[in-house]
Symmetry: C2
Subunit: 417 residues, 2 copies
Amino acid sequence: MSLIVQKFGGTSVGTPERIRRVARRIAAAKRAGHDVVTVVSAMGHTTDELVDLAAQVAPDARKKHKREMDMLLTAGERIAMALVAMAVREEGVEALSFTGSQAAIITDEAHTGARIQEIRADRVKEEIGRGRAVVVAGFQGVSRSREITTLGRGGSDTTAVALAAALRADRCDIYTDVDGVFSADPRRVPNARLLPWVESQQMVELASSGAQVMHPRAVELGARYNMPIRVLSSFRDDDRVATLITRRDPMQPMEGMVLTGLASDRGYARMVIRGLPPTMEAAARVLEAFGEANVSLDMVTVSEQGDGLRQLELTVKEDGVPEGEAVARKLVEELHAQGVDVRNSLTRIALVGSGMQERSGVYAQEFQALLRAGVEVYTVSSSAISIQVLVDADKENVALVALHDAFELAEVPGSVR
Amino acid sequence: MSLIVQKFGGTSVGTPERIRRVARRIAAAKRAGHDVVTVVSAMGHTTDELVDLAAQVAPDARKKHKREMDMLLTAGERIAMALVAMAVREEGVEALSFTGSQAAIITDEAHTGARIQEIRADRVKEEIGRGRAVVVAGFQGVSRSREITTLGRGGSDTTAVALAAALRADRCDIYTDVDGVFSADPRRVPNARLLPWVESQQMVELASSGAQVMHPRAVELGARYNMPIRVLSSFRDDDRVATLITRRDPMQPMEGMVLTGLASDRGYARMVIRGLPPTMEAAARVLEAFGEANVSLDMVTVSEQGDGLRQLELTVKEDGVPEGEAVARKLVEELHAQGVDVRNSLTRIALVGSGMQERSGVYAQEFQALLRAGVEVYTVSSSAISIQVLVDADKENVALVALHDAFELAEVPGSVR
């Protein structure tokens, strides 16, 4: 008999029919002898609707009334969890629901973006001990001063993994609307392969680089607490189709390079401030101004123009461009620089793998593949487990397909040297 | 009673006196009731001397006679392991030594840089069962076709961690000549703090970024196999002074940003090829030529010069500069570019931490600290767990001290938001 924490997202509990389907799954797992704790998100678009309502009552509510926003939004999971618990009872299995506060998911005080500090899951454990199916609201917690908080992006996945860690569950199952984790986005790369196994740290990198199946925050927590996570579809009855995320893939040799997959993240831009004076102070001033304006910088390069002046190249997220460009134009005036160029619509593509220390070969292969495909590369950087390139967004699919083919990611990997 | 794998490096077994000291440690651990497997490197400069000898017999032996180089070099650990086993027996404890081949450390066929595929440690287990202290040669293994191989850089640390994983040891102790892992190199940052605890993935990043206390390859293996690694000094009797590398730091909250430390890696250079035609093909040709010449690229940026032409900036390791510069000069001629600038003597500094998603604040803080200290930053890039900057090598210490102070790395960290 094992203890499994399951998480169902908003789509999976989006209609009464789907809620009944989730309930049948929970009941079946209970009858098979497992202990089951189920974390649920708010139904479908509930959260968006609540946000809309708030905006109609108080414009700018998300910034001005954070505490009350949390009160409001937590109603969404409360509805879903109560409905799921009822549906499970209809299946003849004892069940009850808990809010984040009741489940003692203790967070810091940061309304709308709280982080979990610890989980004192005594009540949950007690009810499991009584043989009941426990349903817990995702995305929400409570601070030490008893304020209701929400966890921000990736919140429900994070609740599920954190709860699994606190309960020392055998596994955390994340039900979603796809079959698992693929070697690349199957909508973009038709022969992308469903990965039966992904190592946690590589999944963190894939998720951070744009693979949307799970939030990196939740994967990171799973890696830290060594909690096996299974990603699978809530619309499929065969649970053998799934991806298991664990510390290591037991099919691989102890050492060796294995390329796992590709992820991409749209919405980058590159800003170049031309003709800056070649002084420390000028560069300092630019970076300070961007920091003050809170524009997130992804990569920064200083280069000499050849005429004695310098330019500063900044990679930013596209939503930071209007603000960033305004800052840059002011700086051009202030520092008597030559001008600002902005290249929008860039995509960042990450090739993720392990043991990529011998990187020069991989680099060359990556470039050759992109060049053959006619894809221009603007910037490249690498970490121990990935190589990231910045390309035009309209070349994203071409680039993904070219790299997927070049590195034979559709094949079951052996160890590559 | 626990099973501990210990590793002693070349310095720790560098003289007969030191070998006796190691033996006393092993004997003490056995008497305390532990099972002990000890992995040793070759004594002091033995390996260098053997390499010298080979060069006198056959110039270019390292490239031309790889199989025989492995045969030659493995003699180094054979000497050390036999001496250590004898010394342990002198202490009144039964002991015996095994080569990598005898310990069944199975590698691939790549002489001088083999990777471990698996370890069938039956003989080692049997001798442990008989109560004996087992001494195993580090750095060496055997291929499936019974050829003797060596593991290349980081080999002995890797042997120790892999053996610990295969034996399901309770811990792997890496004895070295420093007290453990510090928040920055204490020779450069006087108030650097000894870290009692470092999370595995952050240690991989620190090690990859130049922290020399352990090789990233071995740390990565430890993370993958969830093997706790303790780093401590072989010259100190108090083993409470040490750093424990494990999956997570139990003193930290479940989520939250924690900055761990700084590492730096000297010997980078930045090459700029100016006045390239603004075509795909030109950039392609440059990267292809560097790939063919096997010059490792760390970061690549393409930028517009303002006069309609382009420049390509390449960050390379300094040992690749002569070759890289020759390639670049040929390319300038071939592509009718304007010229090549090389900036040597750069250092790459990494700030490593967890939960750095909210990165814009950290970036700004990092820049402000470096700017106040008068340190020029050439390039910045970031991964999920680090921010890397490229600065002049003669500013390395100033930069490290400034960042160490700015991020209060000498203090015991709480969770930072």
